[in-house]
């Protein structure tokens, strides 16, 4: 009896693992198909610009406000900790490095997945449920080229820009708290930040991270929408999966990328 239950447990874990691996593989294949069918998006860039508006511009408020608050909290926490060591003048460095290396790309990507990723999945899923994708196919228009690829590239282009804006707003938030509110020296705040933040190793690495996160989120969002069962439950399940899978993917990729970036790529 106990052996049977153990075997059933192992089978269940194996089955779940296989499904996850299969899903990751299918998403990767779908990403490949999207890239293959991207010629239309670049030939008619207005299609991508429209998606940059929906995924990027319409995410601005949540990104800017969140960035400001995160920066303010970093300013408060950083000052509190650093003053124990008499280094409160370095709070600008702490805020800037935390944001451009980690929090900017990661938190902006998590917010992007919740705001834009879920919207992309729901839109494509509903287009499928209402036969709009079938109609497109019957008009001899490939839905991956016309619907998926512009949304994918619109999101991928928006993501690094949003992450940079998040970091910039965070630094302003940190400045407001540390300098304006607490009274850290203005010159020390900016000059130490300027000296400590390296363009190649900090800012460019942050941009690379946000670009990778953008690719992951948009691939998952478009795949989940395209493969969603054409029912209300199907679309709502796909939207949830987008947010959950994207968040896990962002955090896992962040670990891998950070390890490579700290140790060097070779």
């Amino acid at each position: 009896m106990a052996l049977e239950a153990t075997l059933r447990g192992i089978r269940l874990v194996g089955d779940k693992t296989l499904r996850i691996v299969e899903r990751v593989g299918a998403t990767a294949v779908f990403l490949g198909l999207t890239v293959m069918h991207s010629a239309t998006s670049f030939r008619r860039f207005d299609l991508v610009i429209r998606e940059i508006f929906y995924a990027g511009v319409q995410s601005l408020i949540i990104i800017l406000v969140s960035g400001l608050f995160v920066g303010m909290v970093l300013g408060l926490q950083g000052h509190e900790t650093l003053q124990n060591y008499g280094s409160e003048q370095s709070v600008g460095v702490l805020v800037a490095l935390s944001l451009v290396r980690e929090l900017g790309p990661v938190v902006a990507a998590l917010l992007f997945a919740s705001r834009a990723g879920s919207a992309i999945t729901a839109e494509i899923g509903l287009m499928k449920a209402t036969e709009q994708l079938s109609a497109m196919e019957m008009m001899a228009i490939n839905p991956i080229a016309r619907v998926v690829a512009p949304r994918f590239w619109g999101g991928v282009i928006s993501m690094p820009l949003l992450a940079m804006l998040f970091s910039a707003m965070g630094i302003i938030g940190g400045y407001l708290v540390a300098v304006v509110l607490i009274g850290v020296d203005d010159g020390a705040f900016w000059s130490q930040m300027q000296a400590a933040v390296d363009f190649r190793h900090d800012i460019v690495n942050g941009i690379i991270k946000s670009l990778v996160f953008g690719i992951a989120v948009c691939a998952i969002a478009t795949f989940e929408g395209f493969e969603a069962p054409p029912t209300a439950e199907g679309v709502s399940g796909a939207t949830t999966r987008t947010v959950v899978s994207s968040s896990l993917a962002i955090l896992a990729l962040d670990l891998v990328l950070t390890a490579f970036m700290l140790k060097g790529w070779n």
Binding site: M127, T130, E131, Q132, S134, E137, M138, M139, A140, I141
Partner: protein, 266 residues
Amino acid sequence: MTNLVEISNLNFGYGSRLVLKGINLTVPKGSLVAIMGLSGCGKTTLLRLIGGQLQARDGSVTVAGHHLNDMNQDELYALRRRLGMLFQFGALFTDLSVYDNVAFQMREHTRLPESVIRDLTLMKLNAVGLRGVQSLMPSEMSGGMARRVALARATALDPELILYDEPFAGLDPISLGVIGQLIRRLNDALGATSVLVTHDVQESLKIVDYVYFVSEGVIVAQGTPDQIRASTLPFVHQFIWGEADGPMPFHYPSRTMSDDLGLKEV
């Protein structure tokens, strides 16, 4: 008269379940042919096989002289440019206005200047009596109007073959009559050939040239509307006159009532 669509010995199924069995069907050029049957009898599947959205398991589907089974995606897309399809609930693109929906295929498939596209689009909308709603969004129209706009879109590139999937579903009697007349008029005016999948007997028999009856995946009867009206076949009689019981029983096959209610014979 040559046939635009020829289906011979067609079998199609999902897994081990056969949905269509040994279908033989022809659609002569210029004619309007209806495929009728109960919901779930396989008639929409048949339409999707003609449109190349599904592939026959056995037998052949030939459209305009092309065997769909032997075609790759590019060839299929080239053929679909000569087809138009009206979906059950219109499947209008909800993010585009009425005008942009009708102009969609012209913009995607032709290099016509915008001024010519405008004239053609307005003519197509005029043909369905809806030139005045060109700036509305699909969500701002009634079901009947949306179906007429979808009809204008389906005929945008003057297709040789027009496929209609349940064009009368959910319409009020006036809209139903309007759509029926438009289907006949457009077929004749464009010199097109049409295949209509429906279970609306009275409206269809007024406009079509020939009828195929499908029941449980098999063609059980065929003929002109007059032959169908005069048919003494029990299934056709039940279907035409809408009788609740007959060869198609009122009750879905199940266990006996006393078994389900747990009653014992005394």
